[in-house]
């Protein structure tokens, strides 16, 4: 089963939040939505859970009862204890399986703090509680809006362990993140920029489709086309490597930044929601890099995004 959106456009009074976005979230897989502030990540996720009514296009999602959602800012009830939070959500979804609840608590490392107020938990523990709440009813679609933002590195590792387990257990996991190293761990990545799909597909495809050339330097010639990576700079220019240049293989961060820079160079019309239909721009063509080739999941999402269920918010 694949959930997702097809040509989804969401237009607010003064903002085009999503522009014909096609996105697929297959069951048993983590699908990451990345992009900068205002890219449209939260709007896409909220569309999947029925929080936003589409202007046009299609949303394929299970019924609300089969969706788990973790909004930005965790969405836990701070004045309730961990146990009371779980009790409330269990009652709302009619979950009576105490074993599942205990297993989730143990996996999240929260079994020792069930009597503590959620507001008194550390940021990481609160995120894990929010995740546990979203997972309690074993949803078929798990939507997590920036679950690891503001979480310390150790808690991020633990959180990701939980997320990966949810996917292994069969849930379609959709998460937005600003941490591009996290996106590399996902099965598919959708890179959004100003409401449009900039790149989409398995992480390796997104990275291999990086346009232009990236080099490592201590003194970039044009700082508008360079970004810091630790103590060094990565610089980008369109086209193939220049004589004497040694290009570096792009990781996800390089790929997303390079794609964004390439888009800015070409103008906004260069972006497309369907990577299979991408017409390589001059940079891509001349660089010798292959045109964006979507993975099998993405190809499926663009054409047959799965059956529309009764729970489809549209």
């Amino acid at each position: 089963m694949t959930w997702g959106t097809t040509d989804l456009t969401v237009r607010y009074p003064h903002t085009l939040a999503l522009d014909a976005v096609t996105f697929a979230a297959p069951a048993g897989q983590i699908s990451a939505v990345v992009g900068g502030d205002g890219a449209g990540k939260s709007t896409l996720l909220r569309s999947l859970v029925g929080g936003v009514r589409p202007t046009s296009g299609r949303v394929d999602a299970p019924a609300l009862r089969e969706i788990g959602f973790m909004p930005t800012g965790t969405g836990v009830w701070r004045e309730l204890t961990v146990a009371e939070n779980l009790d409330f959500v269990a009652a709302a979804y009619g979950v009576r399986d105490r074993d599942r609840r205990a297993a989730l608590l143990a996996a999240a490392g929260l079994e020792q703090v069930t009597g503590r107020l959620a507001g008194q938990l550390s940021g990481g523990m609160r995120q894990k509680l929010a995740f546990t709440l979203a997972m309690l009813h074993a949803p078929r679609l798990l939507v997590l809006d920036e679950p690891s933002t503001g979480v310390d590195p150790v808690s991020r590792v633990e959180l990701w362990r939980l997320i990966a387990r949810a996917a292994v257990d069969g849930a379609a996991v959709v998460l937005s993140t600003t941490y591009l190293d996290e996106a590399e761990r996902a099965g598919t990545v959708c890179v959004l920029d100003n409401g449009r799909v900039l790149r989409s597909g398995p992480p390796e495809d997104v990275m291999s489709s990086t346009p232009g050339t990236i080099t490592v330097t201590d003194d970039p010639p044009d700082r508008d086309l360079a970004w810091r990576r630790g103590r060094q700079w990565h610089a980008w220019h369109p086209g193939p490597p220049l004589p004497g240049e040694t290009p570096v293989a792009a990781d996800m961060e390089d790929a997303v930044i390079a794609a964004t820079l390439a888009l800015r160079e070409q103008g906004p019309s260069a972006a497309t929601s369907d990577p299979s239909a991408t017409t390589p721009g001059p940079d891509t063509a001349t660089s010798g890099l292959p045109p964006t080739t979507p993975g099998p999941d993405t190809a499926t999402s663009a054409t047959t995004p799965g059956p529309t269920t009764s729970g489809s918010p549209s």
Binding site: Y12, L16, A39, G51, P71
Partner: protein, 345 residues
């Protein structure tokens, strides 16, 4: 320092609520204390009954304003007119000495009447609050004020807390019907406010000896309607507030006129007509009339129809608006169909 001052002005200019408080509050206080803050009742509606009613009515001077003159009526009718709040004073003629019956539940009116009648040979009998105790008049009104406080401020804060914590968004995508969420949020406050109503009323009786002359059911009906109004106002405030500070600010701006203009502190009769009409638009005005009527005078449903009908009307309008607004918050965001450009988060 100049940068700090400039920044503060910029922020103030964009904080419309604070600006409104800066502008509206001084104007409100000026108007209230200029036109409403008076304990001097200059007009007392005075009915005259008994065989000598016509002559007695002709002899009446300010502050007594002659209302109904009925030579055929007697003492019982006179007391009934006071009980049903149709007159402040009723002059009963026909005995050896004419008796002036004064409504003690209208504290300042009764004080003015006693002062004016002291210069006459009339026998004065103060009903419903014979010792003219302030607490007897204030406690029924305070019950309304406390309900307003809980219903408006506490409800608004509780709902805004949900929004601020991001859990309202969570509730919207959980398998609840909007009515489940709305009722689930409001019922606890309604019950708590009802409990407070009972506690405050009982304490008022125990500590201050305030009588409860009327029907508990009538009082409960009026209080129930009033609670719907104030809870509705609380919900409405929450729907236009992004955080608890904003909610408290707005709730105070709505509560302040109720405290000052509902007749709870300053008698409505002593206010300038324009300001008095503001008082007639406020729910606490009608609850105060109702609670004083039931507790002190033992008013029944028939004589309290006006405050009950007004409160019922207000409850329907305010509560419906509140539920519709709240339901909109829970519904999916409604995108526009017009052209636009730019990004969104």
């Amino acid at each position: 320092m100049w940068a700090m001052i400039f920044k503060e002005f910029l922020e103030l200019r964009r904080d419309r609520r604070t600006m409104a408080m800066l502008i509206v509050l001084p104007l409100l206080l000026l108007v209230v204390f200029g036109y409403a803050a008076s304990f001097n009742v200059s007009t007392l509606t005075t009915d005259v009954v008994g065989p000598g009613a016509t002559q007695a009515a002709a002899a009446l001077r300010a502050p007594f304003e002659v209302g109904r003159v009925d030579p055929a009526a007697g003492d019982a009718e006179a007391r009934e007119r006071l009980r049903t709040d149709r007159a402040d004073v009723v002059l009963v003629t026909g005995g050896d000495t004419a008796v002036a019956l004064v409504d003690g539940s209208n504290l300042f009116g009764a004080q003015a009447a006693k002062a004016a009648l002291a210069r006459t040979p009339l026998k004065v009998e103060v009903l419903y609050n014979p010792d003219l105790k302030t607490s007897w008049v204030m406690v029924p009104a305070l019950v309304g004020l406390i309900l307003t406080f809980i219903g408006t401020i506490v409800t608004a804060i509780g709902l805004v807390r949900e929004r601020q914590a991001g859990t309202l968004e969570q509730l919207a995508v959980m398998p609840f019907r909007p009515s489940d969420v709305i009722l689930g949020k409001i019922v606890p406050y309604y019950l708590l406010a009802a409990l407070d109503l009972v506690v405050v009323t009982l304490l008022g009786r125990l500590l201050f000896g305030v009588p409860f002359a009327g029907s508990v059911l009538t009082f409960g009906l009026g209080a129930g309607l009033f609670l719907f109004v104030v809870l509705g106002v609380g919900v409405l405030i929450s729907t236009v507030s992004q955080n608890q500070g904003q909610a408290i600010q707005l709730a105070l701006m709505i509560m302040m006129p109720q405290i000052l203009l509902s007749g709870m502190i300053f008698p409505l009769d002593a206010m300038a007509p324009g300001v008095r009409w503001i008082g007639y638009l406020l729910p606490l005005t009608y609850f105060t009339k109702l609670s004083q009527g039931v507790m002190l005078r033992g008013d029944d449903l028939a004589s309290l129809w006006l405050p009950l009908v007004v409160l019922a009307g207000m409850a329907v309008v305010v509560f419906t608006a509140a539920v519709l607004r709240f339901r909109r918050d829970l519904a999916p965001s409604q995108p526009s169909t017009g052209a636009a450009a730019g990004g969104a988060s």
